[in-house]
Amino acid sequence: MTISSPTSGDVQLSEPRFEGVQQVRDALRDVQYLADDGIAGVAYLADRLGKPILVEGPAGTGKTQLAKSVAEITGSRLIRLQCYEGLDESKALYEWNYKKQLLRIQTEQGDTADHEWTEIRDDIFSDEFLLTRPLLEAITADEPVVLLIDEVDRVEVETEALLLEILSDYQVSIPELGTIAAKQIPLVFLTSNNTRELSEALKRRCLYLHVDYPQLDREREIVLAKVPDITEQLADQVARIVRSIRQLDLKKAPSVSETLDWARTLLLLNIDTIDEQTAKDTLNILLKYQTDIAKAAKELSVDE
């Protein structure tokens, strides 16, 4: 762990991980993540600029998967911080190991008391008693890491501030120790389901990427890539029906993962062309609300 003076904020940019946008895209394709131009482009830029990416979009469009896939292609370790209400410093950044410190002090008392107080104090506030949490772990790691801060919109606005220092300067200030700067710049992904507006300060530090439901062609390719043995024709039909359903006014539109589940189900049932009946019978895999299912069934059978 390198400890520098708090003033030196700048971190050396590490070696670029990617050659170009196309390379990112191809590499992602190799790990079965089909990125469009926007996704690959932003991932590439994030690496070049050394900036975090804020990924927004509806649930189940592969935001988290993107981080995982990028970790895989760069051969980095994925460190994940799942956000939730009430997340605080001690769970996100670091915590002092109170129990161990207490023990240390108690063993000291047993000794003849010739130790200076300052000595003990310096001693108990050292690396040994520091419990690293995901954020600190990500910047102190020696090997390349991808840091995933999942569902960042779930933390309170106040807690967001915790992230700011690490996101802009890749460093963590611990009052007792000084500032810990990153050894290498991790690729940072923040995901958000947009349940609330994130603060300007946070947004400003990030590149913004909106991941939406895929276009027909891309969805078909995803189905083809992720569901082995599926015929091209069935994949095409699946993608078309899903697009059709997404156009309805539903409580929850089918996500990509649900599309894949559906395709797998159809395959298991040995269906090679979808007719209305099979579509209706298996709708419950695609849609999770009874009212949505009823609506979709009605729409699909009675045309116009």
Binding site: D37, L45, K99, N194, L207, Y208, D275, E276, E304
Partner: protein, 479 residues
């Protein structure tokens, strides 16, 4: 290059998009890392660094298309004034574009008859041939739009003229027909539906191409700055409810859903993480065991949260008709998020409509039922807040309790009837909060027959609520 980007950022700011200085700098750095001749990459680089809100993406896209659209000799509108295009970027982009056009094979299209054009367009749509569709779009605009340099007509006019000549609706029918013939067998309704959607999608894409083509020509004629100015539209959150067009209403409705989810999330959060209660002695002692009996970590009791009840009372009279539609959508959206919501609508009589919204999943149907079935007219169908409130208090007053939050929506234009503002005063006494949302600009308040001030004194706040931004501010404040 620097100047070009700066001009672009200024244009974004003019359109109301918040672009900070650091974001501007990021954009400058970002474009250095991407190949400049890759238009898509260039767009995404700028988008990722400058735009941090999905709702703003459309505005960004329009401005981008206008600002970096291609001018030059290949459009036969501006010939040879290369001096105006000092930047290499422009030229490089043009070359790129020209390279693509070359493959499209748009060379011999000029000699075709309109029928042949239609035929070619149809086969292009049939096969989903992108390059062909783009070439057809250019051809169609050149032929049918009748664009003349310097003519002060908006792009929508040209768009209308072009599309009218192509008659895309009947083309959709013909496409469907030929598909049916091709397959031979009868299509199942499902298949037919899917085919139709596919064609509709392609036709939409084609329309997009036509629009882009018209825009390009207009930019070539008038210059990017002027075009950007005419195309400047309010951001979704700045559209006024009272003057929203149909399209804007649709996008408002989409924007509403996340807002109510936000409201629900914020209220729930507030309930859980509000103030701390008194010391929880038992819990503290239990936790002290791990510190050797030292109560190092005091634990507190949290107050049991009570579920919030929402009572919405909305004016749906003619004077706020546009707002009323929006109000009803809001009520509908709220009702989906909260377990206990009761909604009432009034003109001069008042009626409860909670069940209308609960019974159906379809908002248009619910609104239709409210407008036709709810018994809201007492005498003449002109707003009478006083009477409506009085009846409300008589019939439902007992349901207003210390847990309820009352939302009153309307312009408080009472047609000089008695105000009966004591009802609002009573409400404030019994309810947890009473808020008033007024769709009129603040400067109109208390003018004419508006008595919002009189009611306002008894509420916990009157808020101007003309657009989504203001509604959002209110939601933030409420939580």
């Amino acid at each position: 290059m620097l100047e070009l980007l700066n001009g672009f950022v200024v244009e974004l700011r003019n359109a109301g998009l918040p672009v900070s200085l650091t974001e501007n700098l990021d954009a400058m750095e970002a474009v250095q890392h991407i190949p400049i001749d890759d238009r898509e990459a260039f767009k995404y680089a700028l988008g990722a660094t400058l735009i941090k809100n999905q709702a703003h993406w459309r505005s960004f896209e329009t401005i981008f298309e206008v600002y970096f659209s291609l001018r030059g000799p290949e459009y036969k509108l501006v010939d040879g004034d290369e001096e105006s295009m000092v930047d290499d970027l422009w030229r490089e982009m043009q070359d790129q574009q020209q390279g693509q056009e070359g493959q499209g094979g748009a060379g011999g299209l000029e000699n075709l008859t309109p029928e042949e054009i239609a035929q070619m367009l149809m086969s292009a749509l049939m096969n989903g041939d992108q390059g062909m569709m783009r070439a057809m779009a250019r051809q169609a605009v050149q032929r049918f739009a009748g664009m003349e340099p310097g003519r002060p007509v908006g792009g929508t006019y040209y768009l209308y003229r072009t599309l009218r000549n192509l008659d895309l609706d009947s083309m959709l029918d013909r496409l469907m027909e030929s598909t049916r013939e091709e397959v031979g067998d009868d299509l199942t309704p499902l298949e037919e539906r899917l085919e139709r959607e596919e064609y509709e999608d392609r036709i939409d894409k084609f329309k997009g191409e036509v629009e882009a083509e018209i825009r390009r020509r207009l930019v070539a004629d008038r210059g990017a700055e002027a075009m950007a100015k005419t195309l400047r539209k309010p951001l979704p959150e700045d559209v006024e409810f009272m003057h929203a067009s149909r399209d804007e209403m649709v996008s408002l409705r989409k924007a509403l859903q996340p807002l109510t989810r936000k409201l629900a999330a914020r209220l729930a959060r507030k309930r859980k993480h509000g103030r701390k209660g008194p010391l929880d002695f038992r819990n503290t002692v239990r936790h002290s065991l791990s510190y050797g009996g030292v109560p190092a970590e005091p634990k507190f009791k949290y107050p049991r949260p009570s579920k919030p009840e929402l009572i919405v009372v909305a004016d749906i009279s003619g004077s706020v008709a546009a707002f009323a539609r929006f109000t009803l959508m809001l009520v509908y959206a709220i009702q989906n998020q909260f377990s206990k919501v009761r909604s009432f609508v009034f003109i001069d009589g008042i009626d409860e409509v909670t069940d209308f919204f609960r019974a159906t999943e379809d908002i248009t149907e619910a609104i239709h039922r409210v407008n036709t079935e709810a018994d809201v007219v007492w005498v003449d169908g002109h707003s009478d807040y006083g009477h409506a409130f009085e009846v409300f208090w008589e019939k439902y007053g007992k349901d207003v309790g210390p847990k309820s939050t009352v939302l009153l929506l309307g312009d408080a234009r009472n047609n000089y009837h008695a105000s009966q503002s004591w009802v609002v005063k009573e409400m404030q006494h019994k309810a947890r909060h009473v808020y008033w949302l007024n769709p009129e600009p603040r400067s109109y308040w208390n003018t004419g027959d508006s008595i919002v001030g009189e009611y306002g004194t008894y509420t916990d706040g009157v808020y101007e609520c003309r657009n989504l931004r203001q509604l959002e501010t209110f939601v933030e404040k409420l939580a």
